[in-house]
């Protein structure tokens, strides 16, 4: 089987697995990185949302063969290190608003929220209701109102 080399949370990794195995399973089943969750496997629920070179993406829809040595994957486990702190400001906002209920979707929610705020700030504007409406991550516990409040707070404070 072919070797695949890429970077995860600041470290280079090499895995020996078929090209077409989706990255979600490489992370979870081979590398033991379980922050990204399975919720659908077809890029719909967004529970596995992580970052690829700083952009939000869903590892359930990326074959590991599509990654190269320069590709940097950030999962929820590696998010704080991207800002050099114990917790990313978005995680702090999540704690301040006691957002999580069961918590299963929350790593994906936070990773999507970070990307949303980054994008909105790069456009030099504030987060709107329409921005929040555009998030597709499912929360079956229905924590949506607290997610909205936490993102708005993090965007303002951060």
């Amino acid at each position: 089987m072919p070797d695949h080399t890429f970077r995860v949370n600041g470290e280079q990794v090499t895995v020996d697995v078929a090209d077409d195995v989706r990255l979600l399973w490489v992370l979870r089943d081979i590398l033991g990185i379980t922050g990204p969750k399975y919720g659908c496997g077809i890029n719909v629920c967004k529970a596995c949302t992580s970052h690829l070179n700083g952009e939000a993406f869903n590892p359930c829809a990326v074959p590991v063969g599509d990654l190269g040595p320069d590709d940097e994957i950030t999962t929820i486990e590696g998010l704080p290190a991207t800002v050099g702190r114990d917790l990313h400001p978005m995680q702090r906002a999540w704690l301040d608003h006691d957002v999580a209920q069961c918590g299963y979707c929350q790593p994906g929610q936070i990773m999507a929220a970070v990307a949303l705020v980054r994008r909105v700030q790069s456009e030099g504007r504030a987060v709107t209701d329409a921005d929040l409406d555009s998030l597709r991550n499912i929360c079956r516990c229905g924590t949506y109102p607290r997610i909205r409040a936490a993102i708005s707070a993090a965007a303002t404070d951060g």
Partner: protein, 765 residues
């Protein structure tokens, strides 16, 4: 006053252990209170069984004879631990339990570690998480155990300090007396222990002195949740427990005929095992991705299932045939009379059905989120042919439940697959499996007839007819074992459940409600709030209809007919805070509804935008539909242990209610459900959640907590339905409102799971 103290006095135990282990009997003290409640006088205008005894009482009564213990342990490092015999699935019971212990013991909540107990068969009925009963049934026993610990620590310190225990205080985890340095409880844990089991009489703290209970607290597992460290069943590292999936039939509960290419599939990359099990063909491999490939490659001939050939309309006909008749309407009265249809709904959580199983020749070990772990353990032992004591069942943190985890479908399959393979397995249902073969809220109809004359309502009759709800997860056993001791007569347990969970909150003269069930061919279960979302939605819509006929305001009519002040306060609060009756543009309307259950009351006011430009707003792969723009929700659970957690539960219930009213259902076609994805089953998403939500926790009205985890669904779905009626001028009679329009392209049933996309990089943003 003497009574008040007596009500706070209980007997607990200290157990024989090298460190302090304080214990209490789960259920017993509460049960005594519950059965001694005087029966309601017969002359009440609408005698309500739920005023005498409700589902919570029944579950608590059921626990009484088990006389088994829960224990609070104080460790040498000053930490306190407690294994909760309930499931945590997001509802916050580990946090509220830690609060009870922190309060009664006098330690900071950060020192209290609450874990989930393994299946404990000796608890018999007392390890079932359901009926929003956890806080209600554990409120006193958990505090008694913590109070025993406090008492023992004070006694140990008294001996140490050589002063009377009355002069010693325990606060913030430190024991102190005037003139001496404080001592951490960890240092006293061994001294306070006992070499034998002893009775300890304790007096619980006075309500007025609470500093933890009743204050808003964040979840104790919040940090783990936001850092990805919280471990669910699939995240556990059990050696050699490789990914395992099941190739499932194309119709509900279809069976395997034959497998044409098992050897070929076994030779696929990464695949280690392929074997037929009772629900399909199990495959085990290095990654779940390879399991999906294997499931897709299997060529299986299938035998018919248990709903073969049936579609929504066929079930609708079955329900029509099974509906119990109403008595003739009273002469010379007017009536409002309507039948409402509620289609199948999925209680799939985001964490799919899953479990780890390690079955050996002489023993088995299971890890799964289970709300009925004792029944799971017994059933798994029987399936494996092992003695019950050889099966260990660990209860893991759950990624949502909504009633789904009352059952243990994944755990049973994992055990079977592990036994067949002779290897440990980490079994997961695909989302498509979870949606198509998983448990559902049964399709139902509810007919309501209200008879009135002038301003007087003479009688209210409701006939609820439903596809059978499977209660085979332990609640059935509780009801069977206790029903004879409760004043409900000789009726089956579904009817008992129905009667004990429903209440008639309005003084509408004589009232009757009956449940009739039909068709056991579907995988059903008690979805969050069980019968109430449908029963209450039908009732509340007809209350609005009655108000129109009587030319009265829907809020004023409810207020006038609600049976007690506590209920009226909740309704009045949402009307006031939500500015009931404010003028709104054409196509927008408010809706208001009320629901009481679990010894709690709730009222909901929503504003709904049904304007065409809103309903038809474009959203990729989704239904938009009417938008709830604002929700005001008032709740009184008696005593709110954790108001922040209570708000979270109501928020959750509101989003459930919106989905049930407007968007989420399963479509049954030709023996199978069409939905196979979160973009098919339209649970509320950000674009349909209300931008403005205000939850009002009303002042405590009792010394004891009621139930909350499911409470808010019924009022929410009802308020949305009522708002829809007022906004559109049309009484909706089938739910969800968009069910008639199929808003997605159904995925194939063979293979049963869709392949993962490969274009993820193109969609990075």
């Amino acid at each position: 006053m003497g009574d008040a103290i007596a009500r706070r006095r209980f007997l607990g135990y200290v157990l024989a252990a090298p460190t302090l282990v304080a214990a209490a009997e789960l259920g017993r003290t509460r049960a005594a209170a519950a059965v001694q409640r005087p029966p309601a006088p017969a002359q009440l205008p609408s005698p309500e069984i739920t005023e005498i005894v409700d589902l919570n009482d029944m579950m608590t009564v059921a626990a009484a004879p088990t006389a088994n213990l829960i224990s609070v342990e104080v460790h040498a490092d000053g930490s306190v631990s407690f294994a909760l015999p309930r499931a945590e699935v997001g509802q916050g019971v580990t946090t509220s339990t830690a609060m009870l212990i922190a309060e009664e013991l006098g330690v900071p909540i950060e020192r209290v570690r609450v874990t989930l107990a393994d299946a404990r068969p000796e608890l018999v009925f007392n390890q079932l998480t359901g009926g929003s009963n956890t806080t209600f049934s554990t409120y006193t026993p958990v505090r008694v155990a913590a109070a025993v610990a406090r008492t023992r620590l004070l006694d140990a310190a008294a001996a140490d300090f050589s002063v009377p225990a009355a002069r010693i205080t325990l606060d913030g985890g430190t024991v102190s007396t005037p003139g001496r340095n404080g001592v951490d409880i960890g240092k006293l844990a061994a001294k306070a222990s006992s070499a034998r089991v002893e009775n300890v009489a304790v007096e619980l703290r006075e309500r007025e002195s609470f500093t933890v209970i009743g204050t808003p607290r964040s979840r104790i597992d919040a940090l783990e949740a936001v850092t990805g460290q919280k471990k669910f069943a699939l995240d556990l590292h059990i050696p050699n427990a490789l990914p395992t999936m099941v190739c499932r039939p194309p119709t509900v509960n279809g069976e395997v005929g034959s497998v044409a290419n098992a050897a070929e599939v076994r030779a696929m990359p990464g695949i280690t095992d392929v074997a037929q099990i009772s629900t399909g063909v199990a495959v085990r491999g290095e990654t779940f991705g390879q399991c999906i490939d294997a499931v897709s490659a299997l060529r299986v001939s299938w035998r018919p299932g248990t709903a073969e050939g049936k579609s929504d309309d066929d079930v609708r006909e079955e329900l029509r045939a099974a509906e119990l008749p109403l008595v003739p309407k009273p002469p010379l009265t007017d009536t409002v009379d309507e039948t409402f249809t509620f289609y199948f709904r999925s209680n799939s959580a985001l964490e799919p059905n899953c479990a780890i199983a390690d079955v050996r020749a002489d023993r088995a070990e299971i890890w799964s989120s289970l709300k009925s772990p004792i029944v799971a353990k017994q059933t798994i032992a029987a399936r494996l042919g092992l003695p019950q004591r050889a099966v260990t069942v660990h209860v893991t943190e759950g990624g949502g439940s909504f009633g789904r985890k009352l059952f243990f479908d994944g755990a049973l399959e994992a055990a079977e697959a592990s036994q067949r393979f002779g290897k440990p397995v980490r079994l997961m249902w695909h989302r498509a499996d979870d949606s198509r073969q998983g448990r559902t809220h049964p399709m139902a109809t509810s007919r309501v007839r209200i008879s009135y004359k002038g301003d007087t309502v003479l009688r209210y009759d409701q006939r609820h007819t439903s596809v059978s709800t499977d209660l085979g997860h332990g609640l059935g056993e509780i009801i069977t074992a206790t029903a004879a001791r409760l004043p409900v007569g000789d009726i089956g347990f579904a009817e008992t459940f129905f009667q004990l969970s429903q209440t008639m909150s309005y003084d509408f003269g004589f009232n009757s409600r009956l449940l009739s069930e039909t068709d056991k061919g579907f995988n059903t279960g008690s979805m969050r709030n069980v019968y109430s979302p449908d029963v209450t939605c039908a009732r509340e819509l007809m209350v609005d209809e009655l108000a129109t006929r009587m030319d009265r305001d829907p809020y004023e009519l409810r207020r006038a007919f609600l049976r007690d002040d506590r209920s009226r306060k909740a309704l009045e609060k949402v009307a006031e805070a939500g500015d009931w009756g404010r003028p709104m543009p054409h196509g927008l309307a408010q809706g208001i509804a009320f629901h009481a259950e679990y010894k709690a009351v709730s009222a909901c006011l929503v504003e709904l935008d049904c304007r065409r430009e809103t309903v038809e707003r474009p959203i990729r792969n989704a239904v938009a539909g009417p938008r709830v723009t604002k929700v005001v929700f008032a709740v009184d659970v008696g005593l709110a242990v954790n108001p922040r957690g209570l708000e979270a539960q109501m928020m959750s219930c509101i989003n459930d209610g919106i989905a049930l009213a407007l968007t989420s259902s399963l479509h049954l076609r030709d023996g199978h459900f069409l939905e196979a994805s979160w973009d098919n089953y339209f649970y509320t998403r950000q674009w349909n959640t209300p931008p403005e939500v205000r939850i009002i926790v009303l002042p405590d009205s009792s010394d004891e907590p009621g139930g909350a985890g499911e409470l808010g669904v019924a009022a929410s779905v009802s308020a949305v339905a009522c708002a829809y009626r007022r906004a559109t001028g049309t009484l909706p009679t089938s739910f969800p409102i968009n069910h008639a329009t199929l808003s997605f392209e159904p995925k194939p049933t063979v293979p049963p799971v869709p392949q993962s996309p490969t274009d993820g990089r193109d969609h990075a943003w």
